[in-house]
Symmetry: C2
Subunit: 246 residues, 2 copies
Amino acid sequence: MIESIINRRTIRKYSDCSVSKEFVISLLEVASRAATMGNMQLYSVVVTQSDEMKEVLSPIHFNQPMVKTAPLVLTFCADFNRFTKWCEERNANPGYDNFLSFINAVSDTLLLVQNFCTLAEDEGLGTCYLGTTVYNAMQIIDALKLPKLTFPVATITVGYPLEVPPQSDRLSVSSFVHDEFYNDYDSNAINTIYKIKESLEENQHFVRINNKENLAQVFTDLRYTKEANEEISDVLLDVLKRQHFL
Amino acid sequence: MIESIINRRTIRKYSDCSVSKEFVISLLEVASRAATMGNMQLYSVVVTQSDEMKEVLSPIHFNQPMVKTAPLVLTFCADFNRFTKWCEERNANPGYDNFLSFINAVSDTLLLVQNFCTLAEDEGLGTCYLGTTVYNAMQIIDALKLPKLTFPVATITVGYPLEVPPQSDRLSVSSFVHDEFYNDYDSNAINTIYKIKESLEENQHFVRINNKENLAQVFTDLRYTKEANEEISDVLLDVLKRQHFL
């Protein structure tokens, strides 16, 4: 079993050690061995190393400090632009300005992301996955000059770890694996599945300091609210239209 | 560098050796160490081992033989159902029936998929990623009894390899890595990037037997046509509505 996967934790604090861009690109090269739809490789990666561009990206990622403190910031983009340009150059009629093509490109991109992270972490690098990328996709598109038929899917900050944080909890594997059919969750199953997570001191702490009744309310009322999700969903769909995927 | 990633190839022919379901589940457990949005683990995996269910899934995957010949078939699903049920049990108001939540769950799912494949391949198993999953999502939803707020993202067939196929080609890493900004592709860049792929004997063979002018036309006219993409996009958007993600 690959030890670096077993021991994985998100790394948000990086040492002053620089990370060679060439080395990271060599990891991306190996990562591109991941499965890809029809071998089309529907992705691009924008590598940010300059302080100027980190300054631009930082507020877009809600000023999470990793954007400025990590030696390298990688923005992984779904990309049907390159493939479409190839078709246009070859008197072929591309039909990739649609939602299925978006999903296919997103899939290719995320397989590349995870393969890269595995390789990087196995080499002793630390990574942090910034979920904020899709929240402010339009601003990232403008900042990185992403053309139509591309879309930023994930941002990974990369550096040598300056911390060994505790591993975060995970649900038991039986919570998410189903035998032959999806076995839907009744009240008892939900109680069993979330019991450990709810009992963790750090989570009880979040509940207390936010004056909530329980951990689920911390998620619904503070972290990922219905209002914000719906607002961002509307924006996202607009961005997909602007990028010609809808 | 992880050798099994460097040497990866898709495996479509499997030996008669059975694969222990418990072993695969232990790999899924380790795979769940992948990054996940807010530690919500927005995925489920349905494990198919029975001949009856392989018979049901086979036509949905356009009768690709791996579905019946692989010892195990795993359907990885984006899942906001479990988390939403937890919220409902806890008097918390879930707001995850929207497009952003769909994208977040798809992301979690694909990181899990790739992590699982890496672990499986490192253990000597062979995998094949069936991109057909999203093409017939509705039929898979019905076959596996997937509830609303779930969506089948990827299917992986798993078994011990009975072949060592040649590795498929990949674009040079410089084709998809960009420095600070997206560097859009001009005619010269496109010609350079696709030159090797176009020159491969197997690809020239496809062009000849299909009476096409070039490889790009094989993709646009036969493999991934505009008409099919648009038709399936409409279906996909309908499925997202039915699953309450739109």
